[in-house]
């Protein structure tokens, strides 16, 4: 019953906030477009035969010289912008979501265990978290990427780029989850149902994941949305810096990096359209995340 009221209340608040509704629609539209990119996009931008230099630098359809073949124009190679963007958003989302999931599993696991066992284990995990919190995420991600470049043999470097990037981002974001999970676990540890479960002699793993975890999901869900936005931003930033994905399999960040070359010439769409997509995606995720935080934390309302 309490659950039902809570859910109902969230829906009610949702229907009352137009900004959140718009954000949810925009975010969902981009996510759906990205997920179904292979079916929606006019061409496959990774396929070298799908574009030719002859079509290079065509503006979007509503501008002079724009054609209906390329709704959002083409880049200097003649690649269809809308296909590049959909595939780019797809890559950004794949990396962002996987990094977020890895960070969640790692962070929540460690945080739960730290809160449950306490003592020396807790101290070690939290010290590591403190150190990492002092290092900004982007620095951690850059560092892990640099180490991977040094360790991995050059032949496989290009093939594992996506994996390296995902892990680098995940390892720079787990701390938030660990801290929140630990703090919430501490609160739950004093509750009677946990003590009862412990006294029944249930296995710690069962107590942690079956009893405690469902009761601390609320705050974790909020962090997941916020961190999804951070992960997408981190990936875009790394790719923009030229550390992330290469130009032949571009994410949104890589597209913006390529577009920077056209900042001074007239081809605004090569830079600004991918930028618009990235910002719209991240802003809408953040707006929804903010909304969720308000719903789960009534004190802030």
């Amino acid at each position: 019953m309490r659950d039902f009221i809570k859910r109902y209340e969230g829906l009610y608040l949702f229907s009352r906030s137009p900004a959140v509704i718009i954000a949810a629609i925009v975010g969902l539209a981009i996510i759906i477009g990205a997920v179904f990119a292979p079916w929606i996009a006019p061409v496959n931008p990774y396929d070298l035969s799908s574009f030719s230099l002859m079509d290079g630098l065509l503006p979007p359809v509503w501008e002079e010289f724009g054609t209906e073949r390329f709704l959002l124009g083409t880049d200097d190679q003649g690649r269809d912008m809308i296909s590049s963007i959909l595939y780019g958003a797809r890559l950004s989302l794949i990396i962002g979501v996987s990094a977020m999931i890895i960070a969640t599993v790692l962070g929540v696991g460690l945080g739960l265990a730290a809160g449950y066992f306490g003592g020396r284990f807790d101290a070690v995990v939290m010290r590591i978290a403190d150190i990492q919190l002092a290092l900004p995420a982007i620095l951690t991600a850059l560092l892990i990427d640099g180490i991977a470049r040094g360790i991995l043999p050059p032949e496989v470097q290009e093939d594992v780029r996506v994996a390296v990037l995902t892990i680098a981002i995940a390892l720079s974001l787990w701390v938030n989850f660990a801290r929140t999970a630990r703090a919430s676990t501490f609160v739950q540890m004093n509750k009677e149902y946990v003590q009862a479960a412990v006294m029944q002699g249930q296995h710690p793993i069962r107590v942690m994941f079956v009893h405690i975890l469902p009761n601390i999901l609320g705050p974790l869900l909020v962090i997941m949305t916020v961190d999804l936005a951070s992960a997408i931003l981190l990936e875009a930033t790394l790719s923009f810096l030229g550390i992330g994905l290469p130009a032949d399999s571009p994410s949104l960040g890589t597209l913006i990096r390529i577009g920077m070359q056209f900042l001074l010439s007239g081809e605004w769409w090569i830079l600004w359209i991918p930028t618009l997509f990235l910002v719209a995606l991240v802003v809408s995720i953040n707006v929804v995340g903010d909304f969720l935080r308000d719903v789960f934390n009534p004190r802030l309302r």
């Binding site: 002092a134 850059l142 040094g150 900042l263 802003v283």
Partner: protein
């Protein structure tokens, strides 16, 4: 008090040792230093002799001790890429990054604190809603996009400000400053705003949250009832009590400023440490990466130490209670 400072100092030393260990592990285990230093034509026997000369066959602890000792004496080794001493490479880049970071931090404080106070005092105002919406957008827009937008409007469209480099600089005994020329200040404006925006939103949200909490406390209610003038109430009674967390954040933000300066420096081709670090990652120039880390950690520890001492000055309660 003395105990508190001593404890902080010892902690700082441990942090620095940990970072030095990280840098050392990078240097020692990521790739083989010998193959990086020698060319293909060096014979195996020569490589082995070099390995012995450099002491790379010594016990691990011994090597680490020597590495730390060398660093303390200012010997940071040589870059794999340029073959220059790393200490020199970093030292010439420090002023650019520090000047950029300081100006960005000042912008974030001088705009962020008043904005935070205002939005806390008028939580239902139209301006407050607008500011809060703007900051949410500001947090969501990546630093590099803000940089590109500023370049586009003020550099390309309006042509008011330069879009890359530091402009005119003046040498002041080894410190290359852009504070002394008009050109240097003009070049500094756009990168500093780019770097400051994110910190600004953080500062503003924090000051707002703290102010709102303080405004509900009993002593503020009592002061209101007593008829303390509003200006005095807000700025003397309320704001003063929000300063401890604000100062903490300034200390923590310094790390953020340095990290995001990597991005900002890349967008504006600002010749600071961040740009050097990026190049060193791209070319797997491990010694430069390691030293960059150590230098950043040093600044970080230094700022946090100063912040901790400031607490004691600002908050009289801490002089009595032991904080750990």
């Amino acid at each position: 008090m003395v105990y508190f400072i001593a404890k902080r100092l010892i902690q700082s030393v441990f942090v620095m040792l940990a970072v030095a260990f990280l840098a050392f592990s990078l240097f020692r285990f990521v790739g083989d230093p010998i193959t990086q230093m020698t060319g293909v034509e060096t014979s195996v026997a020569d490589q082995e002799r070099l390995r012995e000369d450099l002491g790379l066959n010594d016990p691990f602890v011994y090597q680490f001790a020597r590495f730390t000792g060398d660093m303390l004496q200012g010997d940071f080794g040589f870059s794999y890429r340029t073959r220059q001493p790393v200490a020199e490479m970093i030292a010439t880049r420090i002023p650019a990054t520090l000047e950029l970071g300081i100006v960005a931090l000042l912008i974030s404080l001088f705009v962020g604190i008043p904005a935070g106070v205002y939005t806390a005092l008028r939580p239902r105002g139209v301006a407050t809603q607008a500011i809060l919406m703007l900051t949410l957008v500001g947090v969501s827009i990546p630093t590099f996009v803000i940089g590109i937008m500023l370049i586009f409007f003020f550099g390309v469209q309006l042509g008011w400000l330069p879009t890359f480099g530091r402009g005119g600089t003046v040498h002041l005994g080894g410190w290359e400053t852009s504070f002394l020329t008009v050109d240097g200040w003009r070049a500094l404006i756009l990168p500093a705003i780019t770097l400051g925006v994110y910190q600004l939103t953080l500062t503003m949200r924090l000051v707002r949250a703290e102010m709102m909490e303080v405004m509900q406390s009993d002593y503020i209610r009592f002061a209101t009832a007593r008829g303390v003038p509003m200006g005095r109430l807000y700025f003397k009674h309320a704001l003063a009590n929000t300063m401890v967390p604000v100062i903490t954040i300034i200390g923590l933000q310094f790390g953020g400023v340095i990290a995001f300066s990597i991005v900002t420096e890349s967008v504006f081709q600002w010749p600071g440490m961040g740009l050097l670090f990026l190049e060193s990652i791209r070319f797997v120039d491990i010694p430069v990466m390691g030293v960059y880390l150590v230098v950043i950690a040093f600044f970080f520890v230094l700022v946090n130490l100063i912040v901790d001492l400031l607490y004691v000055v600002i908050d009289p309660r801490l002089r009595i209670r032991d904080v750990s």
